[in-house]
Symmetry: none
Amino acid sequence: MKEITSQQQRVLDCIQIYLNKTGFPPTRADICREFGFKSPNSAETHLRALEKKGFISIESGASRGISIIGNSDLSSNMDNNYPVIGLVAAGSPTLAEENIENKISCPDDFFSSSFDYFLKVKGLSMKDAGIMEDDLVAVKKTHDVKNGDIVIARIDDEVTIKFLNRKSPKIVELEPANDDFQNIVVDLEHEDFTIEGKSVGLLRRN
Amino acid sequence: MKEITSQQQRVLDCIQIYLNKTGFPPTRADICREFGFKSPNSAETHLRALEKKGFISIESGASRGISIIGNSDLSSNMDNNYPVIGLVAAGSPTLAEENIENKISCPDDFFSSSFDYFLKVKGLSMKDAGIMEDDLVAVKKTHDVKNGDIVIARIDDEVTIKFLNRKSPKIVELEPANDDFQNIVVDLEHEDFTIEGKSVGLLRRN
DNA sequence: TATTATACTGTATATATATTCAGTATTTAT
DNA sequence: ATAAATACTGAATATATATACAGTATAATA
């Protein structure tokens, strides 16, 4: 990255300010207006210089096709809106709209693994694992689970969060973390059993 | 803000994804390409519906003049780096550099209240409150605490996290959430006692 | 039942916009 | 001393783009 001139810095700042203000990049004419330039080529040459020096990228042919390079990796660092889903006793816990309670803005790399949604926990069956009522469990949709994982599972239409313990090819036990609750034994041959995903983290908002 | 239809939500998501990817909003044609629409008016009508419902704003006449409402001030929505501090048995739990284990990027409005740092919990004294070993408690530095709050307190050089119970002007009890632990009774007249802050949230990364 | 909103295709067009070419002048490297 | 980069004006143009108008069809609403 070569050194930037003061005027080019001003143009770069102008682009950023325009972006913050409007949500989209300026045109050549917009930049001219901002600086009092009388020719769109004044903006053009500055943009080309900024591109050459690696401060911005310009999509050829596209209107307002300017993106600031430092901001580009910012988008990967950017927050994403993750849906919060209630632990519905019956029905799909999937990302069906009617189940989305609200959304939480959160960095993509917030937990050890990527995740897909937050599950709002009902009940205290996982109390001894430190999962309390209304806690938000970060759930990664996956079938790659092993014994001891905290999984979100569905038996018929019942959705629960429990420790997984695969006893045999045909028998799965779902173990709560609370003495007041009993293990759930699932016979894979006679019951409709699905692993929705597993817990990769937890969020509690007092 | 009226309710959004599923298709409109998909278009809104598409705009956000396009923004993250390119740094500028899509054209009507871009949206059509993404969905396989054969007429630019398909995108147009969705955009107008989203505008009417207050999800986006459209600058008349401007190309790519779409901005998602709520994204308006991205800089204030930006993440901040919050330090993670170990619960050192002796010494200052303050933000001294030697105590900062690492930093976590997190939105400022992530918890109900603003906060100052994450405290990495050692031990299981707050187990029944769902606070486990190595959990990260979001701590707000404040003296505005009341009975029942989970506070981070220092007695002489010992730092703990407990429930607060102010018995009298001179006596404070710090109550663990674990039967294996005992209440800590602090005599304010004879012991050096400080409230470092209180818990406003919790983060667990498996 | 009529009406409005949703969800599209298809065509057309004014204009917003990028981009090139031709200059001028000043400053900075080589 | 000469080339290259910077910093502009001014004009021209192909095309990218928003946007209106004319339809069709279905679902929701009143």
